[in-house]
Symmetry: C2
Subunit: 267 residues, 2 copies
Amino acid sequence: MRRAITGFSNPTVKLLRSLREKKHRKREGLFLAEGLRLLTDARDMGRLPQTLVMAQGRDAHPLLDELEAAVDANGGEIIETTDDILAKITGKDNPQAVCGVFAEFDTSLAGVDRHAAPLWLVAQAMRDPGNLGTMLRTADAVGAGGLILIDDCVDPFSVEAVRASMGAIFTQHLVQTRWEEFLPWLRDGRGGQLVAASLREAVPYRGAPYARPCFVMVGNESRGLPEDYELACDLRVTMPMKGRADSLNAAVAGAVLAYEVLACLEG
Amino acid sequence: MRRAITGFSNPTVKLLRSLREKKHRKREGLFLAEGLRLLTDARDMGRLPQTLVMAQGRDAHPLLDELEAAVDANGGEIIETTDDILAKITGKDNPQAVCGVFAEFDTSLAGVDRHAAPLWLVAQAMRDPGNLGTMLRTADAVGAGGLILIDDCVDPFSVEAVRASMGAIFTQHLVQTRWEEFLPWLRDGRGGQLVAASLREAVPYRGAPYARPCFVMVGNESRGLPEDYELACDLRVTMPMKGRADSLNAAVAGAVLAYEVLACLEG
């Protein structure tokens, strides 16, 4: 189905705008992703938006034509609208010329085959959507199986997190769980090494005895990991801190560690 | 000098609020930093705010008392105000109980002694204040001499960049320059290796022949580095990209590379 919408008060526009808030995303089971590249990545992964929203004044692009045809063939809805309305929907002053509405995925731990990848990233109580999206992007780059979110993390389906993931939200396995569920799952006898950066009885992170499947865990941006989480790790590693600070940005720490794990597992 | 301000329309409050905008920061030559930890780091580095703004309902803290005494002894101004006004000044719903107004530093290339540190970070046209602050924080952690900003970067004195730097804005040498100035400076015969991640005639980043002083350069978040900048590098390295994406978040790429350089230079 195809239609044009030019009024801000149109109920569909209101619905799409509401998806910028978590409570509305949860109620509808939907989220927004913007940009031709993200949507093309999603399509390549077999994920098509239910609704495709395009700017009337967009430039023509063969990938956009393909996307449009695929959504149409799949029974999805195609909406053409003004730049202003698109900006309102995405909350961005200069929106990309297209955005899509997707059904949220199953993010349960049950679907994870831990042996499908050499490493996994784990984030505990991560609060910043940019950091969360960046972790997804890093997970993609290091060939991780996915990102496992523990405890009260920011919503991975927020527009900001999806944007920062640069499409990795569609390529990475994404799990939302809690420590009380994650730890028993990890210890169920099927293997898995839990690793975190720590100052407690830790070994240098460089060349540490990482083992597959390796779960690289980082903690909350302000508080770091709870002590009992650190103590439950199979391996605690330290990273050089040459300056005044005793910590790195959480997404940076996770990435430096993940690249080291990758090099050691492959080396 | 010490005074209490409780009105939003007070001219000092208006001035402080205006510092959230770049044009006002440049006009006044001032910037804002918030939080006791940041301000204590600044003091330890010999930098005191001209004005210290404290919430009336703050909890007592010995470090805050010391800071207050130091600002007072230095002839600075101390303002007590409401939580609401502090929130307006910092633009944060839950502001920390204290913020300071600092004079902007000299950020010219002339002041850099390249041999003072084994490595330096370089960011070209970096647009995201969170990324810029994170780069400063990483520079501190790896023991870099500082962060050199090339071309049109976001203002490093923005509240968001200062916040993300976690105090490293006070500990790291910060330079704002342009490529046309930076490259001749680097090639003036005093040494310095320029390194960037690249796909062009590059060697694996792991264990590459890094040399002191090593300048690790990352490009703009969307476009990466211009081709001629890459070609001007002494060393181009590749990082594994196992997934669909061909790049990392700029601050993440810089950090992974900087930690590798550090390990190789020390190893």
